[in-house]
């Protein structure tokens, strides 16, 4: 029978993805970029939608939520997985609403007036069965996938609006988005880039070699020299791992120092972040915010005599408050940090914030 085979095939795919997530997130930085993770997650969700057994939208949402919880538990720091799941859930709600005939705006507006007068949304239990729902949802997920493919290009296209000639730009660590952004600008303009190697993983070295191969004048500095050279920098352009719900960032360690130095010298701080990095998390969740890796990177085992008597920390992420950020550049354009909450309400449904 085709059913059970498809099911086992599906569960195999999901298990493979989970183990990949668990392995990929340990230690030496993400082995795969966030864009790839987002694409794989969305493809997997499309497969689940196509092959799993469900009769109504509510069933589908339950299945996706269950799988989603497992995926986020496998690698909590990889927030793009959770973001994609919430996007797909929102798509399902929209498609359901469209099939039912009610307008989309009515669902989205959650003004206090509506909450009081409508008497709650209890009747919305997604139990009705619509035949074309499956096809619509899969089509919408395909659109999402094409959007994901074009994010880096959309961001790089805006490069020339922000970089003029003879500038000195500073960046930290390695971000594929920022690399593409700077390479696109370098085709038409001449400027200088300073890269802060990001100890202990020193991903800045790879970024610098890639940029210099594209013909950009690059300098590598140690993390300790960030404030010393900041007075000669015109702009700071960085990437990030996650954009939080309050407009802050969860970025690679050392970014908070960079942001403070930029603020002190009144240098604009520009964050290149595609929309799939936007997460409804807030930074107050201390136990899930920080991620630590083996302290061997910081104090190697060769220092054996003192290792046992010393506490060594090696955090991977830093929190950057929204007051230090000047501009977000995403695939749908540029925004101020104060606008992030609005984008959040367009992308995700508030009931999906907690999977």
């Amino acid at each position: 029978m085709p059913g059970p085979d498809k099911e086992t095939d599906l569960t195999e795919r999901v298990e493979a993805f989970l183990s990949d997530l668990k392995r990929g997130g340990s230690g030496a930085g993400p082995l795969r970029g966030s864009a790839e993770t987002a694409r794989e997650t969305t493809a997997l969700l499309r497969k689940i939608t196509a092959q799993a057994r469900w009769s109504s939208a509510g069933d589908l949402m339950e299945i996706i939520r269950k799988e989603g919880r497992r995926m986020t538990a496998a690698q909590p720091s990889e927030t793009t997985v959770g973001n994609m799941i919430r996007r797909v859930l929102k798509i399902i709600r929209e498609e359901y609403a469209r099939s039912r005939g009610s307008s989309e705006e009515a669902d989205q507006q959650e003004s206090l007036h509506k909450l009081l007068t409508s008497g709650g949304l209890c009747e919305e239990n997604f139990r009705q069965h619509f035949a074309p729902l499956k096809a619509n949802v899969i089509e919408a997920i395909n659109e999402l996938l094409t959007e994901l493919e074009g994010t880096t290009d959309n961001i790089s296209m805006q490069a020339l609006e922000h970089i003029h000639s003879n500038e000195v730009i500073m960046t930290i660590g390695r971000s594929r988005t920022v690399e593409a952004f700077l390479r696109d600008a370098a085709r038409k303009r001449k400027f200088h880039v300073i890269v802060a190697e990001c100890a202990p993983f020193c991903q800045g070295h790879e970024m610098a070699t890639n940029l210099s191969k594209a013909g950009i004048e690059t300098t590598v500095i140690a993390d300790a020299a960030i404030f010393a050279v900041m007075s000669r920098v015109n702009k700071v352009i960085i990437g990030t791992q996650t954009v939080l719900a309050n407009g802050g960032l969860r970025a690679v360690n050392g970014t908070h120092t960079l942001a403070l130095a930029a603020k002190h010298h009144s240098t604009p701080l520009i964050v290149c972040a595609p929309m799939f990095k936007l997460s409804p998390q807030f930074p107050n969740e201390e136990d899930t915010f920080h991620k630590f890796v083996s302290p061997h990177e910081v104090l190697p085992f060769t220092e054996g005599e003192i290792l046992s008597k010393v506490n060594v920390h090696c955090p991977v992420f830093d929190y950057v408050p929204p007051e230090l950020i000047t501009l977000f550049i995403s695939n749908i354009g540029g925004h101020a940090p104060s606008y992030i909450y609005r984008l959040m309400s367009e992308l995700y449904h508030p009931e999906d914030h907690e999977l």
């Binding site: 020193c202 993390d223 404030f227 908070h256 920080h290 060594v312 955090p315």
Partner: protein
């Protein structure tokens, strides 16, 4: 000028011949006038030569060619001015004893007066004109010393690497002192093209012949220790320098017909150039050298050699004891008042003074724990960590990129300094200003500990104009068997920057603890003034 000199000479000659014909001896004044006239003619000829040289090529005018004409010309101006006075005074004198020759005398007198006036005018014109270079400098410097202090000092050589004239002068000086010139290495970032950048793999001592007769072996050893980073840290470098000087003084013998006070200072000059080539001198070393040179030149000339050497050795020992060791004890006493039980103290890198303070605080039974922050590529914090752990202080260790993660736990930040500048800025290891910045953002007090012998009269506002560039290859790291920056020299647009120092603005620093007390950063010039008055 030349014409007037000729006519003047003609007049003088006429007068002198007349005097001769009258059977009188040439008076002193007339002899002086003859001499003057000859000198004038010589000088006008030399001036013409000078002008020709200037027009042909300015660069070829070295020190030697400029040195000779100023000497006689300055002497002649000096002579002319006073000598312009005696003739009008002495001329009326001969008039009195010989009234019989009145008409001839009066003519001669008139002529002498005219000549005297002309000479006086010429002298004043020359001093006003200011002859090219040296004479002008002589009069200008006379004017300048009347003011408070010479305003513009000579720029040090090590921050003018982009000026080819300065490099040529340095090369000539080193050749004269028989010290090899160290070459720059690698691609220099354009913002720092005015600084030297040396490679650790090419120490200066490789170019020296063995045995070196010019440089004392203790100094050669010290230079190698500096350039390889074996002796690092401003206190350690100063103490090592003073010990090496003590050795030099012990082995020194005054050559015949020389004075110890002058010859020893000249002997030390090539050693200092050599050490400067190995690694640029620090502010504390500069102050120590100034002190030693002053003590040497203050040795009275009738002092016997043995006595003088003994005195110098004692002076150096006193300096080390007072300015470094006792100062550290005094600073530790003041700082311990600032450490309370339950404190979490953050330190950066390896400062001998801060380590001393923490060990003393432990002995006084204060309960605290320490967070050591370290940075690539020097990783000096590991040394501090070892010393503190051996004493039994509980420590945490992080890299500088994690400082905003760890700072919410910290109650105080203790920093060491390389030098304190006269405008209140703190010059210290690169990364110090960053830690002060983040501490300020989290409202954590920042205390800087510094002895007064590190106070410096320089002023600086950013970390670019005067800094030290270390070997750029230090930034290369091998991870997982892969060295990303291995071939950085082949990439034409890639540069590595390894800064050694940076300056911290005074608004990030809350307190400076010195042996004179606890002062704010802005009181540094006051301390410097008090020290100068004392000396």
């Amino acid at each position: 000028m030349a014409d007037s000199g000729v006519t003047d000479g003609y007049e003088k000659k006429g007068d002198i011949e007349r005097a001769k014909s009258e059977g009188k001896e040439l008076t002193k004044e007339e002899k002086q006038r003859l001499r003057k006239e000859k000198k004038q003619q010589k000088k006008s000829k030399e001036k013409k030569d000078d002008k020709v040289i200037q027009e042909s090529g300015k660069e070829t005018r070295g020190d030697s060619s400029a040195a000779s004409p100023p000497q006689p010309s300055s002497q002649s101006t000096a002579q002319k001015a006073p000598s312009a006075v005696p003739p009008p005074v002495s001329v009326p004198a001969p008039e009195a004893p010989t009234p019989a020759d009145k008409p001839a005398k009066s003519k001669a007198e008139l002529k002498a007066e005219r000549r005297a006036r002309q000479e006086a005018e010429r002298a004043s014109k020359q001093s006003k004109k200011g002859d090219p270079g040296p004479q002008g400098a002589v009069s200008k410097s006379k004017a300048a010393t009347n003011e408070l202090q010479p305003v513009v000092k000579r720029l040090p050589e090590h921050i003018q690497v982009d000026n080819p004239d300065v490099l040529k002068k340095l090369a000539k000086k080193l050749e004269r002192q028989q010290i090899p010139l160290r070459l720059d290495y690698g691609y220099k970032v354009s913002l720092f093209s005015h600084l030297h950048q040396y490679s650790r793999k090419a120490p200066l001592t490789q170019q020296l012949s063995i045995p070196s007769t010019v440089i004392h072996p203790a100094i050669v050893r010290l230079g190698l220790q500096y350039s390889q980073g074996i002796v690092a840290g401003s206190n350690a470098r100063s103490v090592a320098l003073l010990h090496a000087f003590k050795q030099v003084i012990r082995d020194y013998t005054t050559p015949p017909n020389e004075e110890l006070s002058r010859d020893l200072v000249n002997r030390l000059k090539p050693y200092i150039s050599f050490l400067n080539q190995c690694r640029p001198l620090s502010a504390s070393m500069g102050n120590a050298i100034k002190y030693v040179k002053k003590e040497i030149s203050n040795i009275p000339s009738q002092c016997k050699e043995e006595e003088a050497k003994h005195k110098l050795l004692k002076c150096i020992e006193c300096y080390i004891k007072d300015k470094i060791i006792l100062a550290a004890t005094a600073i530790a006493e003041s700082s311990i008042e600032k450490i309370s039980d339950g404190d979490v103290i953050l330190i950066y890198g390896c400062s001998s003074l801060v380590n001393h303070i923490l060990c003393e605080a432990l002995e006084k039974n204060r309960k605290f724990r320490v967070i050591v922050v370290d940075s690539r590529p020097r990783l000096e914090g590991r040394e501090a960590l070892r010393r503190l752990v051996q004493r039994g202080i509980s420590c945490t260790y992080v890299l500088i990129s994690a400082v905003s993660y760890i700072l919410p736990e910290v109650s105080k930040v203790f920093l060491g300094a390389h030098a304190l500048l006269a405008n209140g800025y703190v010059m210290s290891r690169v990364g110090t200003s960053q830690i002060a910045l983040v501490a300020k953002a989290f409202n954590v007090p920042v205390l800087v500990c510094c002895e007064t012998y590190k106070f410096c009269e320089r002023v600086q506002t950013d970390s670019f104009v005067s800094n030290e560039l270390d070997d750029p290859d230090d930034l290369i790291v091998t991870r997982n068997g892969h060295t990303q920056l291995e071939n950085w020299q082949q990439e034409p647009s890639l540069g590595l920057l390894n800064l050694v120092y940076d300056v911290t603005p005074p608004d990030f620093v809350d307190l400076v603890i010195t042996e004179l007390g606890m002062i704010p950063c802005t009181s540094v010039p006051v301390v410097l003034r008090v020290k100068n008055v004392d000396q």
